[in-house]
Every structure is written in C-alpha cells, then in structure tokens.
C-alpha cells in the first residue's frame, strides 16, 4: 500500500482568518434568471472565442455562441434561451474595467435546452473523445486560473501522468462554493474524477480537502468505493494550499522545477468544480453554462452560495442577496487573497468567478504603507522560497532584471508576503507590475525582431527586382544589337552584291 509522506505540507504560507462560517452551512440556491446576460468572448486564458451568432438571433440554452479560436481557447455557450441583443464591448471583470467583446442576451424565461444527445457510458471512451467533449463544452479551470481543461488534458498525453489530484482545498478566506459542491454533489465530482483519470491514465487519484471541511470529506468518503482507488485526503489548513505547486508538494512530496508545470513531474491538478463540469460535459453532453459562486463579505446583507448562470452581473447577485447592507469599501471577484478588485458591480460572472466579496471598510486594510524595515517576515511566509523584500526593493529602483534574477518568475502571486507585512507594503502589486513591464519588454523585443526581418526581406526583394530589371534591360539591349548587326550585315551583303 502506498503511503503518504510524513508531512502533508509545504514551507511558508500563512493562516488568514477563514471567515467561512457565514456561508459554509448555506445550501446552494439557484439565482433567478436576470433580465440580461453578458457573456464575454474571453472567459479563459488564451485567445478570445469567435462569435458564431449575430445580434437578433434566437439562441437556446447550451447552444455554442462563440467557438474556440486557436490552440489555447475555449467555446462560450448561451447560459439560457433567449435572443442575442447585441455583440459589443462591455466592461470585463478585471481591475482595469476595460471593455471586452460581449454577447448580450435577453432571456425569454423558458430556459429551454438545445437538443442534447442521450447520456452514455463515459468510462469506455478514449482519451481523445473525452478531451473532445470537454473542449466542446467549453470547460476551463474553475478554481480561478481558467486554463482550458481540454488543453490541459491533451498536455497529459505528452507527459506520463501517474497522479491526478482534485483540488478541493479552497484555501481562500470567505469562499465556500467548493465546500458546498463537495457536500451536495460528491457523486458528480467523483464521476468527474473517474472520467479525468480515464483520460489521463493516472494510477492514483486523490481528492484533496483542507481539514477545516470535515463534512465535505465525510460526504466524499461515503460515496467512494475501495475498488475505486480514489482517495479523499485531508491536508492541514494553510494558505496557499490550493496553489497547484503547493498542493503537489504537500500531497506527493514532489517539487516542480522553476518554469515547469505539474505535468512535468507526473501530476495533474484539477479543481473539484472542474471535475463536476467534466462529468456534465462528458456524461451528459452539457456545456458549462453555470457555476457556483459564494456571495459574501461584511457588506452583503444575506450572504449565500448561488448557482449562477454565466453572464449574470455582480449587481444581480448582490440584489438577490438583499443588496449591500452598506456601501462596500471594496468589491472583489474571487477570494480576498488572490481575487481581482473590480471597479463596479456592472461586470458579469464568468467561468472563473468563484466568489463575489463585498468588503466593508473595517474588513479592508486601512493603514497606509510604511517603509520596509527588513524584518524578513515575508521571507518566512513565502511558500515559494523567495525573498519578497529584495525583489520589491529592486523593482522600486527600476531594476527589473535584478528582480527576475531573484526568482520573480517563480512567484505565484499568492499574497502571503503582503498579508504578513507589518509595513503594509503592496508587495504583490510590485511583482505584478514588474511582470507586466518584463512582458512589455519581451513583446517589444519580439516586435523589433519582426521589424528587422521584414525590413531585411523588403531590401532583398527590392535588390532582386532591380537585378531582374537590369538583366531584362541587358537582354533587350543585346537583342537590339543583334538585330542591328543582322540588318547592317544584310545591307553590306546587298552593296557587295
């Protein structure tokens, strides 16, 4: 029997207050259909999807309205039946509030599904067929990373995967959507695990849950057979357990080398909500049209766990939850550690939105940042073994290369360093800024390279054209000369005669 490593943990990390008590015992309730649905064509990492419908078209629930475009992309489906009102830019759930091409759908209230094939036996399917159905359903990583799940499955065919981990750790404070999912639909998650295991050919499958969710663990264990060879594993509660690198380190003891992926060490991690979406996609041919969202935070009158049709706006969720009891000081999509600050509530819930958190002023950090005193708490807290204070001081001085040398690329932006910083420095923002600036620099370099190549080609082409012209001219000249010679020769002949 295979045994766990002694310590199911990783270095560093923090213990933020979980603050899950308000929502963890609330059953999932469906959100009533809002008046409008806003479906951005990009709800995933990769290339935006290409719209397949036009304004005015009638669509059915589950109909593809935008197809994946390119190697890394995901399809978007109508989350209810109705009419497409417009395809136009709308604010995206992103700190910048910049617009993204969005399909606006007016629901007709019937919520009528498109014709779906009969459910079939999923465990005899080939891995290609499973990946194909997952791609057709537009499933992406639902823990927040939103990487297209089918692309990840195909990654598994290039690497030998021996361990599949289903991530139910839910280490972010406030959030309880995965907890509720595991308690209410353990069978669907386990079936998703079986399908994923079938696609990957993994020998062992683990559903990993933090030990502050005993009910979820019990619900899963009740549904698991010994013969399944799927285990539900409890890990200690420590942030960021939900990070792919750290959950792999904690459960298998394997360390992912810098710049590589879990697949490189033979492990693949999927969120439990992704597993459920895979179950629906492969067994029932149902595309991803809804997700479970925790609505929480001190500024929400009635916190809840909602099953939300994709494209409902944050405002619809807040209204359903009794509105904001007070003006929220900060609105977050996702958890408070890694979630995105959103500028207003008129942005839609997308595939990766696991929470909508409206924080009161008392819940947000109020102190202004002070100077770094080099106490080193961030170094102790960093789960990736980096030196955040050193990286931040270099970035402040504009030395991006210095920050990169200190492992900026290995930062998972978990925010543990900023959480413990007694000077309240926005460390993660420094790192995000530096990454953006380095990406800009890389892109500029590639652009310059392309420009050089194009200029070179043009020069070569112009030279070739000039050469061809000169040759043609020379040939014409030679022909003319030959003609003249023949003529004069003829004349001479005549005179001689």
């Amino acid at each position: 029997m295979w045994s766990f490593p002694r310590t199911l943990s990783f270095r560093g990390g923090v213990h933020p207050q979980p603050r899950k008590q308000t929502t963890r015992n609330l059953a999932i309730e469906p959100l009533p259909l809002p008046r409008r649905l806003y479906l951005p064509v990009q709800q995933h990492i990769g290339a935006p999807a290409r719209p397949l419908v036009a304004a005015g078209d009638r669509v059915l629930k589950g109909q593809v309205v935008a197809a994946g475009d390119g190697a890394v992309s995901a399809a978007v489906h109508a989350s209810t039946s109705g009419q497409v009102l417009a395809i136009e830019p709308h604010p995206a759930p992103h700190p910048s509030g910049l617009p993204l091409l969005t399909l606006v759908i007016a629901p007709d209230g019937a919520d009528r599904w498109v014709d779906l094939p009969e459910p079939d036996h999923a465990l005899s399917l080939s891995r290609e067929e499973i990946a194909r159905r997952v791609a057709a359903a537009g499933v992406v990583g639902m823990g927040g990373a939103t990487f297209p799940a089918a692309v990840k499955l195909n990654l598994g065919t290039r690497h030998a995967i021996d361990t599949l981990i289903l991530n139910g750790s839910e280490c972010e404070p406030y959030l309880s959507c995965d907890d509720r999912l595991m308690r209410e639909h353990p069978g669907e998650i386990i079936d998703g695990a079986r399908i994923l295991r079938q696609a990957l050919g993994a020998e062992r499958t683990l559903i990993v849950v933090e030990d502050n969710k005993p009910e979820a663990l019990a619900a899963l264990r009740e549904r698991l057979y010994v013969a399944d060879a799927i285990q539900a594993v409890a890990v200690p509660t420590r942030y960021p357990m939900g990070s792919e690198r750290h959950i792999i380190r904690a459960v298998t003891g394997r360390e992912i080398p810098a710049g590589q992926l879990g697949a490189d060490v033979g492990v693949m991690v999927h969120n439990v909500a992704t597993a459920r979406a895979v179950h629906r996609a492969v067994r029932h041919h149902q595309p991803l049209v809804s997700r479970i969202v925790t609505v929480g935070g001190g500024a929400v009158a009635r916190p809840a766990n909602l099953e939300v049709p994709l494209g409902a706006r944050v405002q619809d969720l807040l209204d359903h939850c009794g509105g904001a009891s007070m003006a929220p000081a900060r609105l977050l999509m996702g958890g408070p550690m890694m979630g995105q600050v959103i500028p207003h509530a008129r942005v839609p819930v997308v595939k990766g939105s696991n929470g909508v958190i409206a924080l009161t002023a008392a819940e947000t950090r109020s102190a202004d940042p002070g100077p770094c005193i080099r106490c080193g708490r961030c170094v102790a807290a960093c789960p990736s073994g980096l030196t955040p204070l050193e990286m931040a001081s270099r970035i402040r001085a504009g030395d991006l290369d210095g920050a990169a040398e200190r492992g900026l690329a290995d930062c998972v932006a978990c925010g543990a360093c900023a959480y413990v910083c007694p000077a309240h420095l926005p460390l993660v923002q420094y790192f995000q800024h530096a990454r953006g600036a380095l990406a800009d620099r890389r892109e500029q370099g590639q652009h310059q390279e392309r420009i050089r190549r194009l200029a070179q080609r043009r020069r070569e082409r112009q030279e070739a054209e000039a050469r061809a012209k000169a040759e043609a001219a020379a040939q014409r000249k030679a022909e003319r000369a030959a003609r003249r010679q023949r003529k004069t020769a003829g004349k001479e002949h005549e005179t001689e005669a």
């Binding site: 700190p95 402040r396 620099r441 652009h447 310059q448 392309r450 420009i451 194009l454 200029a455």
Partner: protein, 176 residues
C-alpha cells in the same frame, strides 16, 4: 611571341600573389561592434535619428558619437539593448516621456488609394491597391513615419495602440 607567354604568365602570377598578400596584411579592420549594433537596429532606414540610415547610426553609436536613445521606433527596449552592448549607462529619462510604441493609422475618410504610402513602407506593413483603401498591420509597423510624410491628403497619423485588456499592466505602487 613564344617568349611572351612565360613572361606574362610569371608576371601575372607574381603580381597576383603580391596583391593577395597585400590584401591580407594591409586589411582595414572594421570595428566588429558596428556590425553587431547594425543587427540590433531596425534596419528600416527611416532617418528619425537624423543620420542617413541604420548603418550610419550604427557607426555613430560605435564611435560613441550618438546616444543609445537615438532610435525612436526602437523605443526603450532597443535603448536598453544598445546600452548593454556598448556597456554604457543608458539615460532612459529622456525616453520616459514617450508613452511607448506608436503605429501608423490610415484615416478611412481621407484615403483615396494613391499607393504612395505602401511604396515607401520599409516593412511592407501597409496593404492596399490602386484606388482601393489602404490599411496598416500594426504588428508589422514600426512607427517610422515615412508614410505620414508622403500622404498627399494628410490621412495618416501615428497613434499609440488602443488600451486593451491584453495590454493593460499593473502600475507601480505609489511610493511614500
């Protein structure tokens, strides 16, 4: 006549050998750094640096007569690379003001399809045909501005790219 053949052959061989030797020993050394710099520059010969083309700019840079920030289309990234190559401290403060790359944009209201702009474009970034509207591929445009100068209708402007989610970056936190 027969005497001339060996004499001329010998003469030719001797002179050829002398020339070959002279070519080897009296070779004028070109600073190899010039070539390396030239490889870094865009090669579009747009003249925005005030020098006649990228080769001249590379020579001026190698002699230390031009600042590394001379090339506007290359932007900050090129200045950084040049500073690294020449091992000098780049004073990027002069470039701080410029908001980043710019691309040519053809005003569809004004373009009459005269084809002048795409004939001068050093990177073939403009597509069009006679009496057809022209358009610019931003990914191939270096913002050199040669098309702006030749447009008879003043229909081309250099614009920074429109703000997009992909291009959005976190700002540096404000320091105290």
């Amino acid at each position: 006549m027969y005497a001339a053949i060996p004499v001329l052959t010998l003469l030719g061989l001797a002179l050829g050998y002398a020339l070959g030797m002279a070519g080897r020993y009296l070779k004028v050394e070109e600073d190899p750094i010039t070539g390396e710099i030239e490889a870094l520059l865009p090669g579009t010969n747009c003249g925005q640096c005030g020098l006649p083309g990228c080769v001249a700019a590379a020579q001026a840079l190698a002699r230390g007569e031009a600042p590394v920030t001379l090339c506007p289309p290359g932007g900050r990234e090129l200045a950084r690379q040049l500073a690294e190559k020449l091992n000098v401290q780049a004073d990027l403060s002069a470039m701080e003001a410029d908001a980043g790359p710019v691309f040519a944009h053809i005003d569809p209201e004004r373009c009459n399809g005269c084809t002048r702009c795409f004939k001068v474009c050093p990177t073939d970034a403009i597509v069009g045909a006679s009496r057809q509207m022209h358009a610019v591929f931003p990914e191939a445009c270096n913002g050199c501005g040669q098309c702006v100068a030749v447009c008879p209708l003043q229909g081309i402007t250099l614009k920074p790219p429109a703000p997009s989610l992909q291009g959005w970056r976190w700002p540096l936190p404000e320091t105290h």
